[in-house]
Symmetry: C2
Subunit: 411 residues, 2 copies
């Protein structure tokens, strides 16, 4: 692992100094290579799928693992999309003269070497590599054992594309080892790895955090809330709440708890419960909720902190905005929270006081996404507070250094 | 410590939601309080100084510890300066409509609770508290045992100022315990502390990094370089190099190693050596350096990585820009490095390729400083790559969250 790190550091310096055109050439070559390697990728993927079926993995995991022709097309298209983004590296901003006569500004620069640890979905191998390269970084990727052959087949395409563009093949290393000790070793390589991005379940992320000696960009639970304020427009409240819960059940930006102001509960809860029931959502409510929705199950303390990722919603009636914010700070995960209100003062307070990576007014939590935000692509959604919060795109894979220009200036 | 963290988290939410005017009122009250408490502060400081003398602490440390009337004035003036800065919290930037119809922007928000661990200089108690408060954060400070009475006297002024402005006194807690275990406990409070800022020697910073379960804004060694390129103007090269080494010897942005291109060594090294010798600087050179400066000592491998913080300079003659960059990446600490050249192409490469928190052209490394850069004040100089690099002011004590505005928008 030490050797992989050393090679990545050296390759990272070459990528950081490369012209944008050279990096883009590698990315377009990768997209073409993925298109051309369709049959090979599917054969490798078939081996992974067979092994996964033999091990009795569940249908959801098998689905995430599968590389269909459409998914290979989408993977290549994603890489082309990243190639077409403006190059973030080298941009100088805020360059100003200071009283001393020097000019001081900030230059956006690559982070260096990014470690990425992920599970099942093989498309991450291409997506994450493309983002890291575009930002001028080297990457060390460690995918899950269930996608071993698929990941290695994609890695072969990446190596070929790098070599074709005259960039070092070590700029993207897809580790062959899939045992967990490698994860800990990678996260501890403080001389050679600048940040670790774990993508996967809570178990993986906690394991990485525990072993990390380098900064971790965490993507933890999404316990997302929608708060329907007493000054909400009922139609908008229904639309936002139903969409936030049902548009997709298993994503981190799906609403898990609905908070409703007491003053409007009688007006919105009965029709909302009917709409959600129709969509097959099980409701678990507090006592006051059950006055309006008698067939809701009784919510327990455990429900308020739960990320169901399923057709279940906990519902709580609160006295008003203060109690809603208090609830979100006590039980939320700092991912995405929304208020529905027509009242500017309350919207203003919710935006300022709710301490989450995305805070919304009159919009579905499902919008918390790199593509929806216009980042072009995302490497994850950070619930960390430092460096990058919310959807992380190219900018999150860079940092700012100071640049100073003088003409022999001294202090 | 757990209880201190819990209280800080609660107080932090109040400070984050406070109006700028309320925070500023607390800061101006603190400045006035420091002015008024001059005699008390000096009496407390006298106890610390007496104890330090008894323990035989060295003169440099005694000097850093002392609170003279001028230093108390400067401390109050510093707090007023921070109060006068624009409030960073709540600023919304990049607010744009997206194709879906939502508006997406970013709001600058406080980090929450900042842990600050520092040694000797008691003025840090006031400076750091002021910066944290201004940015909307709560702070937990743990000063060194040698400054115990001084820090507690300043803490009393801070509590009074907070109470006078109607802010919770727990927004700034100066810990009474000074044993090292408290440092580890503070750095491990992941539920209540958002970032730890250690200010002090390498030992302290390594101890904190080892025990931290929260992100650390590191301020590590400054092994700073000046590279004199063959296209340097000799007068500017001399001015910059002499200033970078001699303007102050003990600061982290002082030059520790001089690199000189072989082609210009004969022209600049002899006069530069004379100037530095005059200033009392001991030179340790590579073999090629000693051809031009025969009385320089022989530099050993250990010299290239040394942060002398003293009147010693290591000097190396390199083949050119590539070897200079290579040397900086091998031995530098990523703090501040400068090139002296009139050649735009070489300046451009140095700026892009040298991976340090400040990279300079034709300016003394001594400019790497929050005040010189116009940050108004600084809480330290970060050699970390993530979140904040280089001098860290108010912006480094905040992060950006996404804000989304819709009108009942769904996905």
């Amino acid at each position: 692992m030490h050797e992989a790190g050393r090679r990545a550091r050296a390759a990272g310096r070459v990528v950081a100094a490369a012209e944008p055109g050279q990096k883009d050439a590698a990315l377009y070559a990768l997209a073409d290579g993925l298109d051309a390697a369709g049959a090979k990728l599917r054969a490798a993927n078939a081996r992974d799928l067979a092994a996964a079926r033999e091990r009795g993995l569940d249908a959801a995991l098998l689905d995430r693992l599968e590389l269909t022709p459409e998914r290979i097309d989408a993977m290549a298209a994603g890489v082309r999309q990243v190639a077409a983004l403006p190059d973030p590296a080298g941009e100088i901003s805020d360059l100003r003269y200071r009283p001393s006569g020097i000019q001081v500004g900030r230059m956006r620069v690559p982070l260096g070497v990014i470690g990425i640890i992920y599970e099942s979905r093989p498309n991450v191998t291409a997506d994450a590599s493309a983002l890291c390269l575009k930002a001028g970084n080297a990457a060390i990727l460690r995918g899950g054992s269930e996608a071993y052959h698929s990941n290695q087949a994609i890695a072969a395409c990446i190596r070929e594309a790098l070599a074709g563009a005259g960039l070092p093949q070590e700029a993207v290393q897809v580790l062959e080892t899939t045992d967990r000790a490698a994860v800990g070793a990678l996260a501890a390589l403080s001389d050679f790895v600048d940040v670790i991005v774990p993508r996967g379940g809570r178990g993986l992320i906690e394991y990485v955090s525990e072993h990390a000696r380098v900064p971790v960009l965490k993507h933890l639970d999404g316990v997302c809330h929608v708060y329907i304020d007493e000054h909400a427009h009922p139609d908008k409240a229904l639309a936002v709440a139903v969409n936030a819960k049902t548009q997709r059940l298993g994503t981190c930006n799906t609403m898990e708890t609905l908070l409703v102001s007491q003053a409007i509960a009688g007006r919105v809860l009965p029709p909302l419960a009917a709409r959600l029931r129709e969509a097959g959502v099980e409701l678990r409510g507090c006592e006051r909720t059950r006055e309006w929705v008698p067939d809701a199950a009784v919510a327990t303390e455990a429900d308020w902190g739960a990320e169901y990722l399923a057709a279940i919603l906990s519902v709580r009636v609160v006295a008003g905005l203060d109690e809603a914010i208090e609830h979100i700070h006590s039980y939320g995960s700092g991912h995405t929270d929304a208020i529905v209100t027509e009242d500017l003062g309350r919207a203003r307070r919710f935006l300022r006081e709710v301490d989450s990576s995305s805070v919304m007014v009159n919009a579905s939590t499902r919008f918390a996404d790199g593509f929806e935000y216009g980042l072009g692509a995302e490497i994850g959604i950070s619930t960390s507070k430092l460096h990058a919060r919310g959807p992380v795109g190219l900018e999150g894979l860079t940092s700012l250094k100071y640049v100073v220009f003088g003409d022999g200036h001294t202090r």
